[in-house]
């Protein structure tokens, strides 16, 4: 499952996913070093103890302690980054931001074990028959941490804030107006039928911050919400602490008295901190760490590699508006020349699943897309055919300044070279990288994206209306224009029938396999690991009594339901 409910988040993820790998490359070397030292220590008679890693690869079982949840205690969780603030309408919520946000705020909706969206802070979310109006009614009797009541005005102020926000507004551009119906209800009117709108309420756009937080210029550093924990202290780069909200609207929750988050950017340090017991929990997408923790019996690991829902994909984005990649035969040749499994085994510790489209095998939208399988001979033939007509194929291949990304790109560069395609490799600074993608100043870029919990969240990245000519800003970075994709995206947005939507997005994926605007690599795996005493990450109940999501929402989970066994 993947978390971001806004295009802004998807975008953030698209680029935020890039920095960590550099540390991964480093990590592998350092791990080897640490292992080397362990050998030295053992040779010096210091061995014994510590050599507790199991040899099986079955992985640690993430089973909660028996018995009912216990209240009390504190959990320290390490995150992969620091946030820039807590205002949902102003700050960029990556995975850490969403985790922090869900500590002090509640989302209007969330996912259940049935993979359906359930009202959470909202009592009900209903649609007009034509899906052009969504009516959100919030629960009565809920208070913000400062004692102010939750009501329709607060919800309207949040949604209006997003509509004005440069950060989050593009994702909800289809909203026409937000109107107060009564004290507890707002009606959200759309410019077109919008079936998937509630999915947007499960993330950044769905958090309800107190009007005071939104109007206070320092609100982003002093959040007030309705959430399970009250903001206590945030020292950027060091820790964010929140204490139990005694008046929480879900009786009996949260279980913990206090929760502390610590950003530990360096993944090796984060993992060591968990192994050393300095922290209780952490999250990561680092394949080497996940593989190590799967074997570690002292660590409880939950990963979403086998869970249904959407994952981000790693892929090479091709600029279909710029020669030579405007020729679909070239793009197809690149796909044929890319041995996805080899890339995954070499760079990603073998744990990613090779992708054949934007939806992975566990997603309901997955289909056999007919994406070109690795076939070097076929690739060579296509290249020869094109070169006979147009001359040698050469373009710029780019990635960010990260060792892991460079490794991936170099490997794929050599694969493409085997097929006769010459590329020049260029590493580009992160924000310049995004700018180049926006204005089309690239050939092929290593990218990571497309993990919106509902595929409608990727509308803005795929539709031809957002594909502008070179030199102009274009959210459809690949500039792929395909009427079939447009029609399928419209169907997915407008058609309420789940089966029809499924087919619509399968059509999108199949068209991508034909057009090849993206050369797929694999899907990202998110993990949350903890000491064995930490429970409740994926076993919890929704307010209506039904089971909550039994896997991670792209690394996300609700801290309100986490408890520690004594």
């Amino acid at each position: 499952m993947i978390e971001h409910a806004s295009a802004a988040n998807a975008a953030k993820q698209a680029n935020a996913a890039n920095p960590p790998p550099s540390r991964r490359g480093q990590r592998r070397r350092l791990l080897a070093l640490a292992a080397g030292l362990a050998l030295v220590a053992a040779a010096c008679g210091g061995g014994g103890g510590g050599g507790d890693k199991g040899s099986g690869d079955g992985g640690a079982t993430a089973k909660d302690a028996d018995g009912p949840p216990q209240s009390g205690g504190k959990v320290i969780m390490a995150t992969e980054a620091e946030v820039d603030g807590f205002d949902p309408t102003k700050n960029r919520f990556d995975i850490t931001g969403l985790t922090y946000a869900e500590t002090v705020y509640d989302p209007l909706a969330t996912y259940g074990k049935d993979r359906k969206i359930h009202p959470y802070l909202a009592e009900s979310i209903t649609n007009s028959p034509d899906y052009t109006t969504w009516t959100i009614k919030v629960r009565s009797g809920v208070q913000f941490h400062d004692g102010e009541p939750l009501n329709a005005d607060a919800v309207k102020m949040n949604l209006d804030g997003h509509r004005k926000s440069p950060l989050t507004s593009p994702a909800i551009a289809a909203i026409e107006s937000v109107d107060k119906v009564d004290d507890m209800t707002v009606a959200v009117k759309m410019k077109e039928p919008w079936v998937a709108f509630p999915a947007y309420l499960t993330g950044q756009i769905g958090y309800v911050a107190s009007p005071k937080t939104l109007s206070d210029p320092n609100g982003s550093r002093n959040p007030i919400g309705t959430g399970p924990f009250k903001f206590k202290e945030w020292v950027p780069g060091n820790h964010f602490t929140a204490v139990k909200n005694p008046n929480y609207w879900q009786k009996g929750l949260p279980y913990l008295d206090e929760v502390e988050y610590r950003p530990i950017v360096e993944v090796t340090s984060r993992a060591s901190s968990l192994s050393a017991g300095t922290i209780d929990m952490m999250h990561t997408t680092d394949p080497d760490t996940i593989v190590a923790f799967r074997k570690d019996k002292k660590i409880k690991l939950i990963d979403d590699s086998k869970s249904a829902g959407e994952h981000e994909e790693a892929f090479f984005m091709l600029n279909t508006a710029k020669p030579p990649l405007d020729d679909v035969r070239v793009r197809k040749a690149l796909a044929l020349a890319t041995d996805r499994q080899k890339v995954i085994n070499t760079v990603y510790a073998g744990i990613l699943t090779p992708a054949n489209g934007p939806f992975d095998k566990n997603s309901p939208y997955y289909a056999d897309t007919g994406y070109p399988e690795f076939n070097l001979d076929e690739a060579k033939k296509l290249v020869a055919e094109v070169e006979k007509e147009k001359g040698p194929i050469a373009f710029e291949l780019g990635t960010t300044n990260s060792a892991k990304n460079l490794q991936t790109t170099q490997l794929v560069q050599s694969m493409w070279k085997d097929a006769g395609v010459e590329t020049t490799l260029k590493q580009v600074e992160q924000s310049q990288f995004i700018l180049n993608a926006l204005v089309g100043n690239f050939g092929a870029y290593l990218w990571r994206q497309f993990g919106a919990p509902d595929p409608d969240g990727d509308y803005v990245w795929w539709h031809s209306t957002t594909a502008n000519p070179l030199g102009q800003l274009s959210l459809n970075f690949a500039r792929n224009k395909d009427p079939e994709v447009d029609a399928a995206l419209a169907d997915g947005r407008h058609n309420p029938d789940p089966e029809a939507r499924k087919q619509a997005y399968q059509r999108v994926a199949k068209q991508f396999a034909q057009d090849v605007p993206y050369v797929w690599i694999g899907t990202t795996v998110w993990s949350v690991s903890s000491k064995p005493k930490v429970n409740g990450v994926t076993t919890w109940k929704l307010p209506d009594g039904s089971d909550g999501l039994d896997t991670l929402l792209a690394g996300r989970f609700l801290m309100s339901h986490v408890w520690v066994s004594k």
Binding site: A8, L30, A38, D84, R221, S269, A276, T278, Q430, V460
Partner: protein, 319 residues
């Protein structure tokens, strides 16, 4: 030390500070990339970015922005972070104690071990202790600090669980925990310094011990320890003090890595984070701080020469 000398030295600091601030400002602003993309993400429209550029004053010509920044900095206003809107000065105040404590501890650790070891080694050049200590020191010098940090975490946090792997406890909150949380980072940083100090002081001491006045003192029958500490040590610390001052730059560079590795909320980590986010304002602030700190530390070293060696003092007065 005359006031004139002090004033002259302080005046000499000004061009250095100007050069450092201008260079750091230029470097950061000439880098490719656009802070508005770093802040707003790719989905923001050109209009939104234009508004933000205007707000941040990024449309002004570079010299105008530099002058504005210097003028504000002079009044203690280092601007607000583009990203978190936190005043840079506040961020620096929050994080400076961590870095200062780390620097102090690592230097103390290095000196407390290096000085006695060097003295012992110098008394018996090429003895067992001398050989073992200098070769060990050389080994430590050869290990890059990020590598040493990982090894220390693995050994003392993961394996033996003596120290926490990461994190920082403020001294005011719990002094014992504070020292525990800084132990591994301080060792990581201090070990390389230790090696340098040990080798320097040992060599200088051996040279000093060959001087005639030492032979004279020995002839007078003064105790060996007395001669070492009272007669030989002070004249032998010249190189040590010089290097300790110059090393500050290297140490500060080391904190960038060590704070990142140990997740310490110091100036180094702040700078690294801010570079990743293209938060120019904060980077300019921290670079300026580091530069001023470095220049001041070396100014202090200059003053120390005078204290260590009366000849320097007298020469200065004469000049």
């Amino acid at each position: 030390m005359s006031a004139r000398f002090l004033g002259k030295r302080l005046l000499q600091l000004l061009p250095v500070l100007f050069a450092v601030s201008a260079l750091s400002f230029l470097l950061l602003n000439l880098l490719p990339g656009d802070p508005t993309i770093a802040i707003l993400g790719p989905s923001a429209t050109e209009e939104n970015r234009a508004v933000l550029r205007e707000e941040l004053g990024l449309d002004d010509p570079l010299p105008v922005r530099y002058v504005n920044w210097v003028a504000d900095s002079a009044t203690g206003d280092l601007g607000r972070s583009y990203v978190s809107n936190q005043p840079t000065l506040e961020a620096i105040k929050q994080r400076l104690p961590v870095t200062l404590e780390l620097l102090l501890l690592s230097q103390l650790l290095a000196l407390v071990i290096a000085v006695p070891l060097a003295i012992l080694a110098a008394t018996k050049p090429n003895g067992v202790l001398d050989r073992v200590s200098t070769s060990t020191a050389f080994g430590f010098l050869a290990i890059p600090n990020f590598m040493l940090g990982v090894l220390l975490i693995y050994l003392f946090a993961v394996r033996f669980r003596i120290f926490p792997a990461t994190g920082y406890t403020p001294f005011s909150e719990n002094p014992a925990e504070n020292l525990r949380s800084l132990a591994l980072p301080a060792i990581t940083l201090g070990v390389a310094e230790l090696a340098v100090y040990l080798r320097l002081l040992r060599t200088d001491l051996i040279a000093t011990l060959q001087e005639d006045y030492i032979a004279m003192a020995q002839a007078k029958g003064l105790p060996k320890a007395y001669i070492l500490l009272r007669h030989a040590l002070r004249p032998s610390t010249f190189s040590l003090v010089t290097v300790a001052g110059l090393n500050l730059g290297r140490l500060i560079g080391g904190t960038f890595v060590v704070e990142y590795l140990f997740a310490l909320p110091g100036i180094g980590a702040l700078t690294v984070e801010s570079i990743f986010r293209r938060d120019y304002i904060v980077v300019q602030g921290t670079v300026l701080l580091v530069a001023v700190g470095y220049v001041l530390a070396n100014f202090l070293v200059d003053l120390l020469y005078g204290i260590l060696d009366p000849r320097v003092r007298h020469a200065r007065v004469a000049a």
